[in-house]
Amino acid sequence: MMEFLHKRHARYFKFCMDSIPGEYTSLDTSRMTLLFYAVSGLDLLGQLDLVQDKQSVIEWVYRQQITSELCDGDLSRAGFRGSPANSSGAPLNQWDCSHVTMTYTALATLLVLGDDLSRVDRAALLSGLRALQLPGGSFLSSLHGGESDMRFVYCAAAVSYMLDDWSGMDREKTREYVLRSMRYDHGISQGPLLESHGGSTFCAVATLALMGELESALTEQQRDGLVFWCLSRQGVGFNGRPNKQEDSCYTFWIGASLRLLDAYQFVRTDLLREFVYSAQDPITGGLSKWPGHGADPLHTYLGISGLSLAGQEGLKPIHAALNVSADAVEVLRRAQARWRDLPPVKAVD
């Protein structure tokens, strides 16, 4: 397959927005991420016009927000839910709380749709963020408990960057957690002791980049080792770990890491394109993790945003650390400029 099925992927994302197959029921609490992939995917493809009623999508996103009003004093649960699945109405029950990945994808989706974030309860959200950070620097996904690892550290950093306010996290502890997670091969793992992995490497590198500390945090030996580790992921496409199969999602995870490390020029984009094209599903549209596996929204989005890094014609350029289009970042800058004119917001403990 030598061409990029641009229109077919747009139709795939539109389909994801209209109706998701039954197999995805288990992802109901993460529906916000599926929405993000579809909406931002359409944006990158220049086909946001396929979202007929942007305002109603924006309203749906805001309906998942747990604001200070709903919190009734305990702001630790503030932020965005993944869907109405665990929403309990007022007063909130103990299971109804935000999830940091849903908060990140909610804000990103709003920006892509051109919303100015004026209805985001920033103070509450930052308190909610603070409640998720562990003493070692890592972040939980939500107050329920559950795993804590680099994925949620990244989401917390992305949210802080977007809200232009770092009072929701202890930056020093975050930085230390990231550095402790660099392994002997200079790849970065989900947490100390775990094996280095392409996904967590992106999360770590992007976190440092968003904090403005990527250059100062790594020694030259570490940066060099990390670049080599990332470049070694390329065979034709990228894999996520040595001796593992190549997978289209690493087109973004590894590609963006290299872009942030100022080493993307070393990537063989011709081969990368060849691999990603082969992972396209010619019938349904969308991308699968590898040829013939079956498309899904995550791999479709990450394959496409990864191709954008490679300068693919017809795709909007992206912000490598936030994983949204440069247009969406323009919307963000305007929102941030507006906030700077307002009285300062601080996380309330």
Partner: protein, 468 residues
């Protein structure tokens, strides 16, 4: 009920052994059980790792149950041995090994990543694995880790008094990034001690720092305390550079014992290289070793090997070009330092990138003409007065902040600067710059570019060879 949850999670894992929540819930069950059967859990891990030795969820769970079972790291090392013997290619086993060894035999101030007496055994083990199947990258990454020496702690490289300005200012270059407060970086002026430092890159941790001596005082020396040894280092301003550590300006402190091991290792690698001339891992390991042992003695062989790597591992050709650039720059910096010169000539060296700008702070001139540089980051060169980088492919230039910049002449002819912002960004002005040349750049086609440049360089007396 907890027992039935154990069964339940096992059923879930049977369907999806990579489910974060299933493993996490199992952890919770084990933590809450009154009499948990840790041994049974270790066996569960063994079963799942047999099915998929790379399942990191399972490895993580194994760490958890091993701790719960009270198994020692030494016992686990034996298990890791077994796992590696069964399958050298298991990258996850090598990773686990690196973690256990670092725990059991941490490095004791030597250049090796683990205690030196255990180092030989590890080198033999990984060599066995790597030489058995030289095309498998798993043992080679581990080998690379063993070979890479630890760099010494931060130390002062140079201490220069900057010309111009109303107050005397001093630029200090460190060998590794540090925060001034963490290493007690202090400027002594006879009457006072200054501990406020500015960074030309605007970061909280960095290699180059500038401080201003109070009006009327004369800077005499800079002092810092090593974060590792606690030893104090003092360097006189504008005095001779400090003595180099035993490994050289860029090397690691290899002990005689480790050195002889590594030399033996190099012989073994060369022998393997004769049998496997097309194996990039063998070649790369030989480069890492030669570079760590004695880059000057092995100078030509290193360059030959890197050139060969560009052909053998063409996917990473760009990386190797940069690697080559770093090697060349290190040798040039060493020879300049030895000869006491303050002008650095990097022209015509096939450089694709500039490294170690923190080692160039004391240079008054930098010549990087006729290379293949893509970018020029001069932010550390706060004391440099003349920079020329003609005939490269420079797309972006970064200068030190205007108030910290001593640059007088800047030549950037025949590069790839397309807009004025490629040279000045959002910053400036730079009052120190008197001569600037950008002929042969696409920016010269931009209407009004000369006016924009004059605005950012208000002290300009000559632009593109013409007096203003």
């Amino acid at each position: 009920m907890l027992k039935s949850d154990l069964q339940f999670t096992e059923q879930c894992l049977g369907v999806n052994p990579k489910s974060y929540c299933a493993w996490h819930h199992r952890c919770w069950v084990m933590e809450n059980m009154p009499c948990p059967d840790w041994e049974a859990e270790i066996q569960l891990c063994d079963r799942y790792l047999k099915l998929d030795g790379r399942n990191f969820h399972c490895w993580d769970y194994r760490r958890f149950v091993v701790a719960g079972a009270g198994r020692s790291a030494a016992d686990e090392l034996a298990s890791a041995d077994r796992l590696i013997e069964t399958n050298f290619s298991n990258y996850s086993s090598w990773h686990y090994r690196s973690h256990l060894l670092s725990q059991l035999f941490p490095a004791s101030g030597t250049a090796t990543p683990i205690r030196e007496d255990k180092y030989l055994h590890e080198l033999e083990l990984v060599q066995n694995a790597a030489f058995t199947d030289p095309s498998d990258q798993a043992p080679w990454f581990y080998h690379r880790w063993l070979l890479q020496g630890r760099r010494p702690a931060a130390s002062i490289l140079s201490c220069s008094v900057l010309r111009g300005g109303q107050m005397a200012r001093v630029a200090v270059a460190l060998s590794r990034p540090a925060r001034p407060a963490d290493v007690g970086l202090t400027l002594e002026t006879g009457e006072s001690r200054v501990t406020e430092w500015a960074s030309p890159t605007g970061e909280s941790s960095g290699t180059v720092w500038v401080a201003a001596a109070p009006a009327g005082s004369t800077p005499t020396a800079v002092v810092m305390t090593s974060s590792e040894s606690g030893a104090e280092q003092r360097l006189a301003c504008n005095g001779p550079p400090p003595a180099l550590p035993s490994g050289g300006a860029f090397g690691s402190d290899t002990s005689a014992a480790a050195g002889s091991l590594l030399n033996q290792e190099l012989d073994n690698i060369w022998q393997l290289g004769e049998m496997e001339p097309d194996n990039k891992w063998v070649l790369l390991s030989s480069v890492v070793l030669m570079w760590a042992l004695d880059p000057r003695q092995h100078h030509d062989k290193i360059l030959e090997a890197v050139d060969e790597l560009m052909k053998l591992d063409s996917l990473r050709r760009g990386y190797y070009r940069d690697l080559r650039s770093r090697f060349i720059i290190e040798r040039k910096l060493e020879s300049v330092r030895e000869s006491g010169l303050i002008e650095l000539d990097l022209s015509c060296c096939h450089l694709t990138a500039i490294y170690h700008t923190n080692h160039m702070v004391a240079m008054t001139t930098l010549d990087a003409d006729n290379n293949q540089l893509r970018a020029l980051d001069l932010r550390h060169l706060v004391a440099t007065e003349r920079v020329t980088a003609k005939a490269n492919r420079v797309r972006r230039v970064s200068l030190p902040p205007g108030e910290l910049c001593c640059l007088r002449r800047l030549a950037l002819n025949d590069n790839d600067l397309r807009e004025v912002s490629d040279l000045v960004g959002e910053d400036g002005p730079w009052p120190s710059v008197e001569e600037l040349s950008v002929t042969g750049n696409p920016v010269c086609e931009v209407p009004g570019y000369e006016e924009q440049l004059k605005e950012r360089f208000p002290g300009l007396k000559m632009l593109n060879g013409k007096a203003l």
